[in-house]
């Protein structure tokens, strides 16, 4: 086994599975092009082949040298300490990964579940909006419950969750909660301080982008969030 650890084998297996998936999917667009005899799939397949070779090369490196860096000076030059930080914070175990990916499911659940429910109970228009608000509230509750148990997982999830809800709830309604959430995850616990900083950040951003540069930010598409967003834009512009 040389210096191989289970993590190395999992890493190589993930790469090879990805290559296999991409290769199989390439048959979906494996079409001839009259003026180009290699067709549409030759270039991506060449990349896939190189990816598989590099993944096997990486496995060989792990077998021979374990986690040591290559002797390339540049590779050492770019060590930003993120690997050590992960290891020392015990954020590299199977349990941590399971918990983190569990949290990361939340935004995708928001993107899918309301439409599924609406399709099952045949609801349209305002009914779908109500389902979205209820699903969002439940998912936010789940997120807050698990947040304290895995702060890094929560930090990875929060921005994606924020982005997933942006279309429906709008920037103006979500941004205050997002700012407070990020500050909380970074360890800030003083409520008055958090509220002041939130208003300061939001005020500066709205002044610069909405008032001065006229950047149209998403206002949401559900009542009352759409009304709040539109009102702020009207007041500022």
């Amino acid at each position: 086994m040389g210096n191989l650890r289970p993590g190395h084998l999992i890493e190589a297996a993930l790469w090879l599975i990805l290559c296999l998936f991409l290769f199989i999917y390439s048959f979906e667009f494996n079409q001839d092009i009259e003026i180009y005899k290699f067709g549409a799939s030759a270039w991506p397949r060449a990349i896939i082949l190189l990816m598989a070779i590099a993944a096997l090369g990486q496995l060989y490196h792990h077998w021979k040298r374990g986690d040591e860096a290559s002797s390339e000076i540049i590779s050492k030059a770019t060590d930003d300490g993120s690997e050590d930080a992960a290891h020392e914070a015990h954020h590299d175990g199977l349990k941590w990964y399971a918990s983190t990916f569990g949290l990361l499911v939340i935004p995708f659940a928001y993107m899918r579940i309301p439409d599924w429910i609406a399709a099952i109970i045949s609801v349209e228009g305002a009914g779908v909006h109500l389902i979205r608000i209820i699903v969002a509230a439940i998912l936010v509750g789940i997120f807050i419950y698990y947040m304290r148990r895995n702060m890094i997982g929560a930090m990875l999830t929060l921005p994606v969750f924020f982005a997933a809800m942006l279309e429906d709830f709008g920037f103006y309604s979500l941004a205050p909660f997002f700012i407070i959430g990020v500050m909380f995850l970074f360890g800030e616990r003083r409520p008055k301080f958090m509220a002041s900083i939130m208003m300061l950040i939001l005020g500066l951003l709205l002044l610069l982008f909405v008032k001065i540069l006229y950047v149209g930010l998403p206002v949401g598409n559900m009542h009352p969030f759409y009304d709040i967003g539109s009102w702020i834009v009207t007041v500022l512009q």
Binding site: Y36, S70, I73, I74, D80, A85, V160, E188
Partner: protein, 500 residues
């Protein structure tokens, strides 16, 4: 003499028009500011301003973008040095030594070096650009076809494969991820949909601005939180200790080498400042007597990459104006400005709109000179950003990145893509992969595939035909030699030098 007269005419035209002066200084300050604010970049500003240039004259529109280009490339160095967040990919090598310098309390010195070298590299590049535009454009038109550009992309990727990753293989895997992401969307020859997973959004491909913001700005926030969680996060130390003249004179060869590298990388379409910065840094390591000190806060690392990337800015205008080929993201937006005014960049611009060309050249020259003065003043203000605790800076960076990603196309899915890129970047970084490699692969992937297809059509699908063209053959052979040397080192080198 003609060039000097044209330059004077351009200067007079630029400074005799109050609106022109206003746009010029707006571009200088805006480029620096957006380059320097963590989470946004000159590309964000350019994307925001692009629709408004329809109301400006073509001269003012192109001039504004070229000024933002010069000062924004410098501004991106500030975030690279202070926060390890490169404002743009071309500032990534600046962070290699700039950020360790900040952690050692030498932020002022690193930023000061970036100011002086950006101004120097950019100004010299502008002067050469003005003197040599015509002959170089003529040479490039005759000597550089798709096979040469493809060979150059291959050479660039082969050289850059070792940059930023823990191992050679992880460096290549990072670049290959970028190349694969660039495949998503329509194929450049037949317009066939690839890896779109039946999602209309993916038909236009994954946009590079949200991806860059995610991989660099967002993943950095996640890494900082993890460092905080294990208690190793240290607020950077403050100082405003600029480098002395003797320190800069001691690096004169590094500056000269980087100007040459930067100019030649910049002049070649599709390569631009990113590869210039990486190659400038790489060559500095190769030529140094103390290569082990790189990456730990060596001034020469900052000097080399910042001189090279600004030297590339002036040169990047040559393929844009002479051939109509954008060298990077911002020059691609300039093509958009031309098109909004029903103009096509290319040789005809030189013939029909010489005024426009020389106003742009003069503006770029003065923008680079102004980096020296405005940069020093602004640096002292920006350095105070370090006094803000990270728990307050983090939400601001994330929201600025949100606005930046959304402003490009007005799509919330771009914001989702950006944050997902941040999550992926976080996991890849902690596993020793290179986010800079991914971004390089993403940017060069489309150009690489397109030029490969054109090159193969030109040589009637006989790959040996590529070697009948001297420049193509030379670049391909050097690229292969670099690759084989790295693979040989991986398999046959007995013990890696891990302690530097």
């Amino acid at each position: 003499m003609d060039a000097f007269n044209n330059f004077l005419t351009g200067t007079v035209t630029l400074f005799s028009d109050p609106l022109g002066i206003l746009i010029f200084f707006g571009g200088v300050v805006g480029g620096m500011l957006f380059g320097a604010i963590p989470g946004v970049s000159m590309l964000t500003l350019a994307a925001i301003l692009l629709p408004f240039t329809a109301h400006l004259s073509p001269e003012h529109g192109i001039m504004l973008f070229s000024v933002i280009y010069c000062t924004g490339v410098y501004g991106g160095a500030i975030t690279a040095i202070l926060f390890n967040i490169p404002g743009a990919p071309e500032n990534a090598p600046t962070a290699f030594d700039g950020y360790p310098m900040t952690q050692k309390g030498q932020a002022g010195k690193a930023v000061g070096a970036a100011v002086m070298c950006s101004a120097l590299g950019g100004t010299v590049s502008c002067i050469i650009m003005m003197l040599a535009t015509a002959p170089i454009a003529d040479w490039a038109i005759s000597a550089f076809g798709p096979p040469e550009i493809f060979a150059l992309v291959f050479f660039g990727l082969a050289v850059a494969s070792s940059v930023g990753a823990k191992t050679f293989w992880k460096g290549w895997l990072s670049i290959l991820i970028g190349l694969m992401v660039a495949v998503v969307g329509l194929d450049p020859v037949g317009g066939i949909e690839r890896y779109d997973f039946e999602m209309p959004y993916l038909l236009a491909g994954i946009h590079f601005i949200p991806t860059i913001l995610g991989f660099f700005a967002v993943s950095e926030i996640f890494v900082q939180l993890e460092k905080k969680a294990k208690g190793s996060y240290k607020a950077p130390k403050l100082s405003v200790d600029f480098p002395s003249l003797s320190e800069l004179i001691a690096h004169k060869w590094a500056v000269f080498r980087s100007i040459v590298i930067g100019f030649f990388c910049g002049i070649l379409p599709g390569i631009g400042a990113t590869l210039a910065a990486f190659m400038g840094y790489n060559e500095a390591v190769r030529w140094s007597k103390t290569p082990e000190e790189f990456g730990k806060g060596k001034l020469e690392g900052v000097i080399s990459s910042e001189t090279a990337n600004n030297a590339a800015c002036g040169a990047a205008m040559i393929p844009l104006l002479a051939l109509g080929l954008p060298g990077g993201a911002l020059t691609a937006m300039m093509v958009g400005v031309f098109q909004m005014h029903d103009m096509e960049p290319g040789p005809l611009v030189f013939l029909n709109s010489a005024d426009l060309v020389w106003v742009v050249f003069a503006a770029m020259f003065y923008a680079n000179v102004s980096i020296l003065f405005v940069g020093f003043l602004e640096t002292k203000t920006i350095i105070n950003l370090l006094r803000i605790p990270f728990q307050f800076l983090a939400p601001m960076i994330l929201l600025l990145a949100t606005v930046g990603a959304y402003a490009v196309r007005g799509l919330t899915i771009d914001v989702v893509v950006m944050f997902l890129a941040g999550v992926i970047g976080f996991f890849l970084r902690r596993s020793g992969y290179s986010v800079a490699g991914i971004v390089l692969g993403l940017i060069l992937g489309k150009i690489g595939e397109q030029t490969f297809a054109q090159a193969m059509q030109m040589v009637h699908f006989e790959w040996t035909g590529l070697f009948s063209r001297p420049i193509t053959a030379g670049l391909l052979l050097i690229g292969f030699a670099t690759l084989i040397g790295s693979v040989y080192g991986e398999f046959f080198k007995k013990k890696p030098t891990t302690d530097g």
